[in-house]
Subunit: 155 residues, 2 copies
DNA sequence: TTACGTGCAAAGCGTTTGCAAGAGG
DNA sequence: CCTCTTGCAAACGCTTTGCACGTAA
């Protein structure tokens, strides 16, 4: 039962993009196009390994290092978004700057993830005194429309 | 800029504890006590590395492998809870089954994580129609009391 | 032509595991 | 005394990086 090392949880939370060490990736390469198309063509956030497999069909010989380098660059450019779910490796989906603040819903039965565009808002009051709230992440868990049990086994 | 491998994001969300392959750890060892005390004495979820450093003061010679083995066992026994924050390595805190529902706050400056005992509640309305909400995870981001900019460094 | 991007392989890092020595009961 | 637990080091798996070749512009 191996799990392996995780993703780069290193970088804490790049809320604001500093202008340092940006891997711009300005050239239009065959590999870069394949990676973008692979993600754009998926209906769900993809893991790096899934991106590799999908993009390799468009760009044979594509290597994992290139996938990681481009994912990182595309996220920095705002063309992609990293989707971090608790306890899960990061996935990647399309979503630019103009993509508004939203949250996610994960079905406890089918494990699929959905966007939730509603937001509870003003959560500043929840923090302890002396703390300043600047942002938040919210993940809802439950059952999606397709996984509603015949009866209802709420908790 | 290395980040390193991540934690075992493998298991999605162990809502219910299955009775398979439990690493019981039934003996009362000096190391096990040190690890439990280290976590119980902290006011926030600790990273494995932080647990090691704290527990080593109570049990010199303690190794990281023992920390991981005991963390895993204590979580399986329900004595500890793993705290998964988006894009972060897992942290560990006390909290059995009877431990009440709460959330977390991560300081964008010092990266430490604190418990938030408040809860916005009734988030069921946020989900799309036809979806059933059973639970949620909420993470607040901002600055903790000690990291308030110049102004006042409370607490 | 020339700097940037790619591929490969090796390094990094957090986590897990094999194995022999150590300790609880 | 016997088994479970520990500590060390190697193994693991995902991600990053060094370097030389390939290629967009």
């Amino acid at each position: 039962m191996k799990l392996g090392a995780g993703p780069p949880r290193g970088s804490p939370r790049p809320r604001v993009q500093a202008c340092v060490s940006l891997a711009r990736m300005e050239r239009n390469t065959r590999q870069r196009a394949a990676i973008r198309d692979a993600i754009a063509g998926a209906r769900r956030p993809l893991l790096p390994q899934e991106v590799l497999e999908a993009a390799q069909q468009l760009a044979p010989g594509l290597g994992m290092a290139t996938v990681y380098r481009n994912l990182k660059a595309l996220v920095e450019e705002g063309e992609l978004r990293a989707v971090h779910l608790p306890g899960e490796n990061p996935r990647y989906e399309v979503g630019g700057e103009h993509h508004h603040h939203h949250h996610h819903f994960q079905c406890l039965q089918c494990q699929r993830v959905f966007d939730v565009h509603a937001c509870p808002g003003n959560l500043a009051a929840l923090a302890p005194p002396g703390f300043t709230v600047e942002d938040h992440d919210l993940t809802l868990y439950g059952r999606c429309g397709e996984c509603q049990p015949a009866a209802r086994a709420r908790r």
